[in-house]
């Protein structure tokens, strides 16, 4: 089952740092995640799509397309808008 890692204030909203989520595409995984933790959805989704400045990586590579397939052993990381330098 793919593992979803959450960062910054998403951890507080979900009450955990990571969780396993069923799904064969990134979109399905994200949908399942926000079903379980609606406050996370309020931050990361806008009209059903990833909101501006939301960073999602699949095994460390930035992904924008929710149709991207995901595999059992994949690690998905989701970051709310963050900045720094």
């Amino acid at each position: 089952m793919p593992v979803v890692k959450l960062f910054a204030n998403l951890r507080k909203l979900a009450g955990k740092k990571e969780l396993s989520v069923t799904g064969t595409t990134l979109g399905v995984v994200v949908h399942e995640l926000v079903q379980r933790h609606p406050p996370v959805g309020e931050v990361i989704l806008q009209n059903g799509e990833l909101g501006p400045h939301i960073v999602v990586t699949l095994n460390g590579h930035n992904i924008m397309d929710l149709e991207t397939p995901v595999m059992e052993q994949d690690v998905i990381a989701i970051f709310p808008p963050i900045a720094g330098g």
């Binding site: 709310p80 808008p81 963050i82 330098g85």
Partner: protein, 593 residues
């Protein structure tokens, strides 16, 4: 003309005298202020014959037309000098309160020349300039000195050096308002070489604004934009800059163990999330800043501002240390001693690698948190091995026969972002006029965070155009002078509009960015005059030849050469990186040649 005080304060420490004279307003309009104006003045005053630590070098403190106006983040100022670390043109930039106070004292520029025969500090109360004996203050650390000289955030502000500057450490910072720093490239050593311990400013004049109604409207607009942006209203205030630790590690671009790896197994333990949960006391902010990214953190031993992301990385991942309290404490120690955290951490990491490989006889080892504070102390006071570490990683690694183990560009230690995982960042470091620096353009935004839009971080072709644009914008913002974080919520267009409102001169966005390009080219000309060449626009061999063996950046090295060729073409420079006559004519720089 509103926006500028139109006045230069010129101090000669040889004679402890000063004079004031008008600022060349044609020059001011072309180079704006801050970094740009500083570079233009340095061009005339300090040539290749000048040793950076000799009395002939100068410190040029500058503010900009927006400084002190009350525009959001208009607290910043610059110091320009020839760097004792790199030999390049150097501009270091700081926030806090001192810059605002300096503007209120009625000057755009303060030039400090010569060398005092004995330790001295200077007090500025508008037109009254007083030279004080600093013999009893020499040796004092920054926090005690700042308090002793009467730091009061909104009324009286202290800028000073600590022991590292006195001992002429080439990575010494100038500190202001206790914990703010003009950090990079060793300006603290230049101040120390002049026997100048501190400059205290009390100003009483509010900067003039040409069109107050339009300015108020711009304040209102900017406030709305900063509040609407999740970056400036939530991300930076809630987690500070250290929140970048996990994402850089996640994508495999977090330099680790002196850039031997691109991921750190202890990143979570030194992350912004960890800092916020366990050590954050409160947020803090610079003058006129509604963002408030500063973290005040506390351990059993210290309480103070920081650490920022780069400092946390330098003493953390770069030294393979996952002990956050130790990092918070060594960050505070660096502030108290007046030493650049990025260069200090990366120099220690370089020594750790030299030791582990048997090139250096020392007990420094990766992962040894207990070694951080004693080593930094030794650097600041030039004791034991610190005597050599105090001059940065390149001189140190060269002395021990392995200059390739210095993770620096032009001798300035690079920050956290590993160019093997971010191709544009590598080009940015290699071409930065002050050496390996992340503040000369924001490729992290583009290549990682999607600010304003995500681009492929491994893409090589076409990357130079982004780097050039962001370098020019960065030079313009550094000349206004405001904080670059404002640009995360507010587009450049607004800065041009507020600059027009303050000065009464019509600046289009393109005019302002063109001024940034002018500054960038002038800095390049300065370095060429100093003898720098195409060979210096490079990265450490490790980043060009050694690919990570695992993680998301596995198999990648920096593809610098093709990007550099494209970059020179895009800049209108020849194949050796020399600005062509046509470009200099376009920028109004021909009179310098």
């Amino acid at each position: 003309m509103a926006g500028w005080s139109e006045k230069i304060l010129d101090i000669d420490l040889n004679t402890q005298t000063y004079k004031t004279y008008p600022l060349d307003m044609e020059m001011a309009q072309l180079f704006i202020g801050g970094r740009g104006l500083g570079a233009r003045l340095l061009w005339d005053m300090v040539g290749p014959e000048v040793d950076p630590l000799s009395p002939e070098n100068v410190l040029i403190f500058t503010n900009g037309p927006l400084t002190g106006t009350g525009y959001q983040t208009s607290n910043r100022f610059s110091v320009t000098t020839k760097s004792p670390l790199t030999g390049t043109v150097l501009d270091a930039n700081s926030g806090g309160f001192w810059g605002m106070q300096f503007k209120k004292a009625g000057y755009d520029v303060m030039i400090v020349r010569g060398k005092s025969a004995k330790p001295i500090w200077i007090e500025i109360k508008n037109d009254v300039i007083t030279f004080h004996d600093a013999s009893e203050l020499w040796g004092m650390r920054v926090f005690e000195l700042t308090q002793k000289l009467g730091q009061n955030n909104n009324r009286r502000n202290v800028l000073c050096i600590g022991p590292a500057g006195e001992k002429l450490s080439r990575i010494a910072a100038i500190m202001n308002d206790r914990e703010r720093s003009l950090a990079r490239g060793g300006p603290g050593a230049v101040m120390g070489s002049k026997n100048l311990k501190a400059i205290v400013v009390e100003g009483k004049d509010r900067p003039a604004i040409e069109d107050p109604d339009r300015f108020k409207f711009m304040l209102y607009e900017t406030r709305k934009l900063l509040a609407a942006s999740p970056l400036t209203s939530q991300a930076l205030p809630e987690f500070g800059t250290v929140v970048l630790m996990n994402i850089m590690n996640n994508i495999g671009a977090l330099a680790t163990r002196n850039h031997q790896q691109t991921q750190f197994e202890g990143a979570e333990a030194i992350s912004g999330e960890e800092l916020t949960e366990k050590y954050l006391v409160k947020n803090s902010s610079c003058w006129a800043c509604p963002i408030g990214c500063t973290r005040v953190s506390k351990t059993e031993k210290v309480e103070g501002e920081g650490p920022e992301f780069e400092s946390t990385w330098a003493f953390g991942a770069q030294c393979a240390i996952d002990n956050l309290p130790a990092i918070i404490e060594v960050n505070a120690l660096c502030n108290d001693l007046g030493i650049d955290t990025i260069s200090a951490g990366s120099t220690i990491a370089c020594a750790m690698e030299l030791s582990e490989k048997g090139y250096l006889d020392s007990d420094l080892r990766f992962g040894r948190a207990d070694q951080l504070a004693p080593t930094v102390e030794a650097m600041a006071y030039r004791r034991d091995i610190g005597a050599e570490l105090a001059d940065g990683s390149l001189r140190f690694a060269t002395k021990y026969g392995h200059p390739e183990l210095s993770m620096s560009a032009k001798g300035l230690e690079m920050p956290a972002y590993d160019p093997r995982g971010m191709q544009g960042q590598g080009l940015l470091y290699a071409t930065s006029n002050r050496g390996g620096c992340h503040m000369r353009g924001n490729m992290v935004g583009l290549e990682v965070l999607g600010l304003p839009k995500l681009i492929d971080r491994f893409q090589v072709q076409g990357k130079s155009s982004f780097v050039i644009l962001h370098q020019n914008i960065s030079a313009a913002i550094d000349s206004l002078v405001i904080c670059k974080f404002t640009n995360m919520g507010v587009a450049e267009e607004y800065f041009a509009r507020v600059l027009s409102a303050v000065t009464g001169i019509k600046y289009a966005t393109g005019d302002m960015i063109k001024a940034g390009e002018r500054v960038w080219n002038l800095e390049k000309l300065y370095n060429l005059r100093e003898g720098f060449s195409r060979e210096d626009d490079t990265l450490p061999p490790r980043l060009l030849n050694e690919a990570p063996t695992d993680g998301p950046s596995k198999g990648w090295v920096s593809q610098l050469e093709p990007m550099l060729k494209e970059y020179y073409r895009g800049r209108g420079w020849d194949e050796n990186g020399v600005p062509a006559q046509k470009k200099l004519e376009e920028l109004g720089l021909m009179n310098l040649m």
